[in-house]
Symmetry: C2
C-alpha cells in the first residue's frame, strides 16, 4: 500500500519524465492480480508434476511432464525478466536465487533427458528445488519471514540440540552399563540394550514417547528400580529439554519477528515521509511544512478507491485533530496505519420490503414476526432443533422415518434463513464480516442441493452414489457446528482461531515446502521398498510384497500403505512421522533394508519439523492468544473511535441493545452488520472492527506496537526484504 | 524474613508486654527448623504408609499401620494446637481444612477398624486426603500457589475443554457417518468405527497421538481420501486445540501469579512500613521521619545474623545514598528486597600452604605448577581425558586392560582435584556457589570408594555385588557430565536449568499429590485385576493371571506389571499414562473387565495431569527462559553493583583475567570464589550473584518487577495467603 501511495504521489510532481511514467505502468502491470494468479497457478502446476513423474500416482510419459515443466520454467523466466525491468539492475543481481533455480532445473532436465535417451539411470534431483520457487518468486513475504526466523533460530536451537544429544548419549551409556549384562530379552526375543548405537536410537525415540512404555518393560519386569532410570530420562529429555526447545524457538521467533516488523514499519514511515516531502506546502512563513486537505483526499482516493467519501472524511478528521484543514508530518505518516484499521461502514438502509410494500411490512403481524425472530428464544429454539438433529444424524439412516426427518430439518433451516432475511436488511445480513451468516446459508443450501441430488439418484435408478452421500453426511454434521456461535465464551475462542487462520495458512505453506523436499528425497531413496496391494487375497499382502518383512511389526500392523511409492502416500507418511507416534515401527523398513545412515534422513526430518516448525507453530498460536488476552486497542484505533464518537456517528450500542433485545449479538458477532428496520439511527454509522486487521503485517505490527516509536523516521536500516526482493520492487525513486 | 524483621523490631518499643514476648517465643518455636523437619518427616511417614497397607508392597498387619497413622495424626494435632496459640482465634477458624482432614481420617479409621473387626469389607477412603496435608499444613506456599493457579485457570480451561470435546464429538459423528457402513475391519478383525462411543474414545486417544497411525490405517487402506479426515482431525484437535490449552493455561498462570506476587510485595512493603513506623525518629524539625544507622544496623543484625559486618555496611551505603547517616521510608522499605540479593563476599585469603611453608609454596617450581593448573590447556587436557574415559566406559569391561584403566582414570581425577586444591584457596574452592567443584569432588570420591569396595568384594570372594557395580557404573558416567561445563554456550543453558530446579521441585510435589490421590483411588478400583509373575515358567504369565486377557495386546506386550496392585506400580503406571503413549493399550484391561465408566477415571487423570499440570510446567519453564533472555538486572541490583564499584570493592574483572589467564572462568562460573594467591587485591571483595535469588519468591518478584510500583505501600488487598494460613501466622501485631 505505502509503496503504491508513494508512487501514486509522484506523477504530479514535475521531476519525473515519461520514462518514469512508463516504468510506473510496468510496475503496476507487474503487481496486477491476474499476473500474480497466473504465477501461482504455474507454481502449483510445477509442484503437482510430482503426481505424474516416476514414482507416479498417475503415470504420464516423461516427455509430457518435461514439456509442462519447460512451460512453467518459461513463465517463471518471463516473470523474472519483467521483474528485472522493474527494479534497478544492481538490486536484481543481488539476489540471484531465482536465476539459479531456473538454470539448475534446466541443466537437470537436459542431463536426465540424455541419460534416459541412453537408457541409463538418472535422478531428477532438481525437483527438490521446486518448492523454493514458492518462497522466492511469489508474494510470499510471510513465508520468507517464517524461513528467516527459522534460520535465525538455528544457532541457539542447535546449541540446545547438542546439549540434548549429549544427554541422550550419557543416558545411553548408563543404560548400556546397567542393562547389557543382564541377559534381558525384548518381547520379540531379541537381545535388549546390548548395542550402544541401538540404545541411542531407542532412547531418542523414547524422547518422542513413541515407544513408551514398551522400551521400558523388559527392564521394569526384571526389576522395578530400573523404572527410575526411565522416569529420570523422560523427565530430563522429554519434558525439560522439549520445553527448552519450545522456549528457545519461541524466544528467537519473537525476537527476530519483532526486529523485522520494526524495520518494516520504519521503512514504511520513511516512505511516507518522502511522500510527504513531495506533497508538502508552506502554509505560514517559517512554519512547518504541511499537506492540504485537498492533496490528502486525492491521495487517499487514488490509493484506496474502495473507501467511501464519508469514511475518508472521517479519517481526515482523525488526522486533522485541530480542524486546521491541513496536517503535519506526523499525522500524515500515520495514514498507512490508519488505512489498515478496518472500519465498518453501516448504512442504515430500510429493508427493501419496507420500501416495496410498506403497508404490509409495517402491519401488526409483520412487526410481531420481526420481534419474534429478534427474540433470544428464537435462537435457543433453533439451537435445540440442531441438537435434536444431531441425535437423528447419529441414529441409523436406514430407518425411513429418520431419513425423511432430514427433509423436515432442512425445511426448518431454510425457513430460519428466510425469516432472518425478512427481518434484517439482506445486504447487512450478508455483509463481509458476518462469518456465521455466510457459513449457515452456504451449508444449508449445499445440503439442500446435495440431498435433492441424492434422492433424485436414488429414485431414478435405486442407485445411491457413495460420494454424494458422503457429501450429504459431511454437510449435515457441518450444520451442527453453528451451535457454538450461540455461546459467548466459545465465540471468543473461535473468533481468535478464525483470526489467526491466515497466519496458519503461512505455516501450511511452510510445511508444504519442507514436506515436498523430504518427499522428493524420500521417493528417490525408498521407492518401491514396500508395496501395498488392494487385493485382499494376494498372498504378498501379508508382508507388503517384500519377503524381508515377513513377521515384522510393520506388516502385522498392516502399515504397507505407509510408503514412498508416490507423492500422496509420501506426504501422508511424513504427516505420520510428524505426529511421531509409531515412527520407529514405520522406520522399521528403513532400519532393516537400506543402509542405516538412511535413519539420518528421518532424524533430520524430526528435528526440522517436530522440533522447529511445530514449535514455531505453537509459539505463534501462543503469541496470538496472548495478544488477544493482553493487548487493548492501539493508540490509533482509540483516537479513531474517539473521533467517531465525537462526531456522533458511532453505532449507539445501548440503543441497539434496547431495540434488538440482544438478538443483535447472535445475528452478527460484530454487532452492527445486521440492522433493525425499527432502529432510529443516523443514516450512516461507523464501527471500528477492533480486533480485525486487513493484513497479517498489520496484526504483527499491532503485536509489537508497544516497542515501536511513532516518531521514528530514520532512513537507515531498511531491511533486505524491502530493499531487494522479487515481488516488492522498491522502484528507484531516488 | 520481613515478618521476622517486623517482629524483631517490636520488643524495643514499649507498647508490648510480657504476654507478647511469650507469644513471640512461641512463634519463634513454631518456626523452628527442627519442628518443621519433624512435621515433614511425619507427613512423609503418613504418605508412605501406602506401601504397607493393602494392597501392599510389603505387608504389615493392619493394627501396625493404624498405630503409626494415629501417631502421625497426633503430631499433626499438636502442631495444629500450637498454631492455634500463635495466631488470632478468628483467623484460625477461618481455615478449618486441617481440622477437617484430621477428623475425617479419625472417623474413617474407626469405621474401617469396626468393619474389619466384624469381618466386613471396608474402604480406607481417607487415604485420599493424606497428600492434602502436604499442601495445607506445611511451608508449602509455592505448592498452594500452584494449586490456586490451577483452580483459577479452571473456568477458562473448561470452556476450551468443552469446545474441544464438542469438536471431538462432531468429528466422531462424521466418522460414524462416513465409515460405519463400509464394512471395514481393524487388524484384530473387529468391526471398525461402528459404535459411536467407541469412536469418541478412539478419537480422544488420537488427540494424544497414542494410537496414530493405527486408528487411521483401515480407512486409509480402503481409500486414500479418508486420510484427509484424520489429517484435519489431528490438525484441529492435536495441534490447534492443544496449543490453545497451553496458551490458556500459560496466560492464566501468569496472570494469577503476577497478581499474587503483587499482593505479596504490597503486604511485605506494608509490614516494612509499619516496622519503619516503630523505628522512626524525627531528625529535623518538620522534616520527614527517618531511621538512624544504629537502629538499622541492630535490626539487620537480628534479622540476618549470618551477614558479615562489611556486607551490612555495604547495604547501608546503598540505602543511605547521600551519606546522611539516616534513611527515609522508601529506602528502609527496600531493605527486605536488598537482603534477598545474593552478594558473594570474597575474602582474599592467602593459601594455607602459603602461610605454613611460604618458602616452598613461593618457590619457582611451585609457581610454575600454579600457572600450569590455571592455564586453559589444563582444562582442555582433562576434557580430553574425560572423552577417552567415555570411550573406555563404552568398551567391554571384561577386558582386564580396560577394567584396570579405570584405576588410572580415577587417579587422574583425584590428581586434578588435589592440584586445584593446591593452587586455589580451599575454602574458596568449596564455596557455596561452586556447584561444579562440589559436583566433581563428590562424584570422584564416591567413585573411588565404590570402586575400592567393589574390588575388595571381588578379591575377597570372587563375588561381585551387582548393586555396587551399578553404582560404580552410574558414577563413572556422571563424571562425564563435567565436560558440559567447559563450553560457554552450554553453561548458560545448564545454569538456567539449575536455577529453575527449586521451582521444578514444587511441580514434583504437585505431581506427587495428584498421583497419590489417583493411585489411592485406582488401587481401590482396580487392584489385582491383573497379576505379574516373576517366574517365567508360570503358564499364567502369558495372560497376566487373568483368563480374560488371553491373546490381548496388553498381555502380548507383556504389560502385566502395569497394574494397580501396589503403590509403586500404581505410580509407575500413572507416569506411563502421563507420557500418554500406548495408554489405550494400558487401559485395555479397564475397558474390558470393569464397568466402562471407569474410563472416566483415566480421562479425568489425563485432563488433570496432561492438559493442566504438564502445561503449567511447560509454561513455567518457558517463562523462566524468557526472563533469562529478556530481563536485565533489577534496579536494586544495579544500584548495589554501582555502590560496590564506587567503593572500589568490586572484584576487578580485568585484573583477575589478567592474572588467572581465563582459568578462573573454568574453575568457577561465578568468577570469584576461586582466589589466586598471586592476585594483588583488596582484602575483601563483593560480587553480586546477578541471576541468583535466595528464594523462589524473590525470583518471581523479579519476573514481574516491571509491573510493580516501588512506592506502593497501600494497606488494603492483603492476600488471603498472607492473612490466614497455617505456617505463616501474621501474629496480631495491631
Amino acid at each position: 500500500l505505502y509503496i503504491l501511495i508513494s508512487h501514486m504521489v509522484l506523477p504530479p510532481s514535475q521531476v519525473y519524465n515519461v520514462f518514469v511514467l512508463c516504468a510506473f505502468r510496468l510496475y503496476l502491470l507487474y503487481n496486477h492480480w491476474a499476473l500474480k494468479v497466473l504465477l501461482y497457478f504455474f507454481i502449483l502446476v510445477n509442484l503437482s508434476l510430482a503426481i505424474f513423474e516416476e514414482p507416479a500416482l498417475v503415470s504420464l510419459p516423461t516427455w509430457a511432464t518435461m514439456l509442462v515443466e519447460l512451460l512453467c520454467l518459461l513463465v517463471f523466466t518471463i516473470r523474472l525478466v519483467h521483474y528485472a525491468k522493474v527494479i534497478p539492475r544492481e538490486k536484481f543481481w543481488k539476489d540471484p536465487k531465482n536465476i539459479c533455480i531456473i538454470v539448475l532445473t534446466l541443466m537437470d532436465m537436459i542431463i536426465y533427458g540424455g541419460l534416459k535417451a541412453a537408457n541409463l539411470y538418472g535422478v531428477r534431483w532438481s525437483r527438490v528445488l521446486r518448492p523454493l520457487l514458492l518462497i522466492n518468486v511469489t508474494e510470499g513475504r510471510q513465508l520468507r519471514r517464517a524461513f528467516r526466523s527459522i534460520r535465525n533460530a538455528l544457532p541457539e536451537v542447535s546449541s540446545v540440540f547438542v546439549l540434548f544429544i549429549f544427554s541422550v548419549l550419557m543416558f545411553s551409556l548408563m543404560a548400556l552399563k546397567l542393562l547389557s549384562k543382564r541377559d534381558l530379552k525384548t518381547i520379540e526375543g531379541a537381545s535388549y540394550f546390548t548395542n550402544y548405537l541401538e540404545i541411542v536410537f531407542d532412547l531418542y525415540v523414547l524422547v518422542t514417547t513413541a515407544n513408551s512404555p514398551d522400551i521400558m518393560m523388559p527392564a521394569y519386569n526384571a526389576n522395578s528400580m530400573f523404572a527410575l532410570f526411565f522416569i529420570l530420562y523422560i523427565l530430563v529429555n522429554t519434558y525439560i529439554f522439549m520445553s527448552v526447545f519450545l522456549a528457545v524457538v519461541f524466544n528467537n521467533y519473537k525476537k527476530h519477528l519483532k526486529e523485522e516488523i520494526r524495520q518494516l514499519v520504519r521503512a514504511k514511515r520513511h516512505k511516507m515521509a518522502r511522500a510527504f516531502g513531495v506533497l508538502q506546502e508552506q502554509r505560514e512563513e517559517g512554519g512547518p511544512p504541511v499537506v492540504s486537505h485537498e492533496n490528502w483526499s486525492k491521495l487517499v482516493q487514488q490509493a484506496r478507491p474502495d473507501i467511501s467519501n464519508a469514511h475518508r472524511e472521517l479519517l481526515w478528521r482523525v488526522c486533522d485533530d485541530g480542524n486546521q484543514d491541513f496536517i503535519g508530518k506526523v499525522a500524515f505518516v500515520q495514514l498507512a496505519d490508519l488505512l489498515n484499521i478496518e472500519v465498518i461502514t453501516l448504512k442504515s438502509r430500510p429493508h427493501p420490503l419496507q420500501s416495496l410494500i410498506p403497508s404490509f411490512y409495517e402491519s401488526k403481524p409483520s412487526r410481531l414476526l420481526c420481534r419474534v425472530v429478534q427474540h433470544r428464544g428464537f435462537v435457543i429454539t433453533f439451537d435445540l432443533i440442531i441438537l435434536v438433529n444431531a441425535v437423528f444424524i447419529g441414529l441409523d439412516e436406514e430407518n425411513p422415518l429418520i431419513s425423511n426427518s432430514e427433509w423436515a430439518f432442512l425445511a426448518l433451516y431454510v425457513l430460519e434463513i428466510l425469516l432472518k432475511l425478512y427481518v434484517f436488511e439482506p445486504r447487512a445480513f450478508f455483509s463481509k464480516h458476518s462469518f456465521w451468516n455466510w457459513f449457515d446459508t452456504i451449508v444449508v443450501i449445499a445440503a439442500l442441493i446435495a440431498t435433492i441430488v441424492n434422492s433424485a439418484l436414488k429414485s431414478s435408478g435405486g442407485y445411491t452414489s457413495r460420494q454424494v452421500l458422503d457429501i450429504v453426511f459431511i454437510l449435515r454434521v457441518f450444520r451442527l457446528i453453528r451451535v457454538v456461535d450461540s455461546i459467548k465464551r466459545f465465540r471468543a475462542i473461535i473468533n481468535t482461531l478464525i483470526r489467526i487462520g491466515p497466519a496458519i495458512l503461512t505455516f501450511g505453506q511452510l510445511i508444504l515446502v519442507v514436506y515436498y523436499v523430504f518427499a522428493m528425497v524420500g521417493m528417490e531413496l525408498f521407492k518401491n521398498k514396500v508395496k501395498f496391494y488392494e487385493d485382499i487375497n494376494n498372498p504378498e499382502k501379508a508382508y507388503c510384497g517384500n519377503p524381508l518383512l515377513k513377521g515384522s511389526t510393520f506388516a502385522q500392523l498392516s502399515y504397507c500403505k505407509n510408503n514412498f511409492n508416490n507423492v500422496v502416500s509420501s506426504f501422508i507418511l511424513l504427516l505420520e512421522l510428524t505426529v511421531v507416534n509409531q515412527w520407529h515401527d514405520i522406520l522399521y523398513t528403513v532400519n532393516h533394508f537400506t543402509h542405516k545412515s538412511a535413519l539420518i534422513f528421518f532424524v533430520l526430518f524430526h528435528v526440522m519439523v517436530v522440533i522447529i516448525i511445530i514449535n514455531i507453530f505453537v509459539a505463534f498460536v501462543l503469541e496470538a492468544f496472548f495478544v488477544e488476552y493482553s493487548v487493548g486497542k492501539g493508540d490509533l484505533q482509540t483516537s479513531l473511535e474517539r473521533k467517531i464518537e465525537e462526531l456522533e456517528l458511532a453505532v449507539a450500542q445501548e440503543k441497539l441493545e434496547d431495540n434488538l433485545v440482544n438478538a443483535m449479538e447472535t445475528i452478527d458477532n460484530d454487532l452492527g452488520s445486521g440492522q433493525s428496520p425499527t432502529a432510529n439511527l443516523p443514516s450512516l454509522l461507523f464501527k471500528v472492527a477492533s480486533k480485525r486487521y486487513r493484513t497479517v503485517d498489520a496484526l504483527l505490527q499491532r503485536m509489537f506496537e508497544a516497542d515501536l516509536d511513532p516518531e521514528d523516521f530514520a532512513e537507515n536500516d531498511i531491511p533486505e526484504d524491502q530493499a531487494g526482493n522479487f515481488e516488492n520492487p522498491t522502484f528507484g525513486v531516488a
